[in-house]
Subunit: 311 residues, 2 copies
Amino acid sequence: MADTVGSLGMDFPPPPAGIERSAQLMREFATRHGAESRRVVLVTSGGTKVPLESRTVRFLDNFSSGWRGAVSAESFLEAGYAVIFLHRHRSMSPYSRRFTALSWLDALRLVPGEDCCQRVEAEQSLLPGIVPVLERYQQVRQEGTLLFVEFGTLSDYLHLLRAAAEALNPLGSCAMFYLAAAVSDFYIPASEMPEHKIQSSSGPLQITMKMVPKMLAPLVKDWAPEAFVISFKLETDATLLIPRARKALETYRHQVVVANLLDTRRSSVVVVTSNSESSISISESEAEGGVEIEEKIVGDLKTRHTCFIEK
Amino acid sequence: MADTVGSLGMDFPPPPAGIERSAQLMREFATRHGAESRRVVLVTSGGTKVPLESRTVRFLDNFSSGWRGAVSAESFLEAGYAVIFLHRHRSMSPYSRRFTALSWLDALRLVPGEDCCQRVEAEQSLLPGIVPVLERYQQVRQEGTLLFVEFGTLSDYLHLLRAAAEALNPLGSCAMFYLAAAVSDFYIPASEMPEHKIQSSSGPLQITMKMVPKMLAPLVKDWAPEAFVISFKLETDATLLIPRARKALETYRHQVVVANLLDTRRSSVVVVTSNSESSISISESEAEGGVEIEEKIVGDLKTRHTCFIEK
């Protein structure tokens, strides 16, 4: 694995500690679910960190709470997929996303138990929906259909993406890649990075960053060529959205781009393929009723995935 | 409040929504504890986001989990202070820092209760230390000695820091500022910021950032001139550490710099004043016993604060 990303001609740090362990877990996960004829999806989620110094104090980051990835992972599990959840450290996780760190402490109570021991009990009214969430989470844990894999930096992400693709490749068209992570387009090559913290006394900061080669190209061509691949396109300028989605499909030759605008991403997306464009949205009343757009996106993609497998 | 930061000659976005409410909560908090002769400390914690686009997709960030601020806040509460915890959104919080988002779901069990209802109970062995942590947290909540105030961007942080300083100023020397947040030294003025997402197709990224004027200057001189002020200096190069700490004290004329190196910050710091340098460290056996260096730092600063008040 030592040169997985290096071999792509980039000047990146070595793979993260523990990558062999993660790769092995992903291979075992894919093999087990493949044997049970279960489809497996890799959901990537959260932003990537791009260090500006090799002993990192400062970094460039991408806006992403991990909301879309976390909700989508839940929807894929409901739809019968096994899910590898490749997510940014401390971004949102499926199921736990509904509750904040402090909401747990606020909701817990010490109550007298047997033998003078205290029991710790949750006040359910302070954790709305906790019972069904907990039931579903524990069922998923028991079935072993959800695997958590964590990254921090862009480099870690790229190494792990390749390891995931190699793990899923044996599943052929039954594997799906749902690349919802907000991956940086820019990085500073390891050889050009200052070792120490950039000193603020040296005046204004000038940063020059190179473009990150898109990993979609080797993913689609070499790493998992039979898989069903979905990328995301987030823009702020509506006029650029569909042209850029089309451009990505032409360049990388994968199956689907889910295109969305920053301001409306929670209520509206366009699913773009080489020969179609379909809008998916949720109405205000659906949103009030707790419907999340990711359920609809995943439902749509599952149908497309079925057609893709049958072809 | 509209021009609190603007009036410092910077080109910053307007104050965050809700700043008036936060300012009012801080004023009430300071007044209440001042009336009870309790010292009040502002603990700042976590990194600051610096947007690169006005509809933000990308931002520059500073390395900080918020660990030091969260542990220090607990130590100040133990030492009898009331604490305003001004922290980055989703950084670590006092008390809840010990447990991850998923550890909660993993530890909770559904058990049969009365009337066919299910109770939600925590498996204590999966949440080490939960009983004393919960007891302490609930006591703090009941006493009202901990106020949470949240920021995201550098601009929000600066506006809220000024509001906090104005709230604490009436307490004179009984107010302490413990500025542990990792505040960006650089920013892009609002007028120079592109509106839309920077396009990666335009080639390598060139970023030029201006230096952020240090808010320590007006804090010490104008906003809370009688308060006891501690700043932090994090470096990666050991030879620069003490000279930079001394330089900061000479420039801003505050009372203490806590100087630390990135790699050893959890076990060793130097407390620097205009006429002294004292090392604080924890041994391996102390670390194994659960002692945290923040307890010692806070103990040291409390003593210095007492001398400062008496002078």
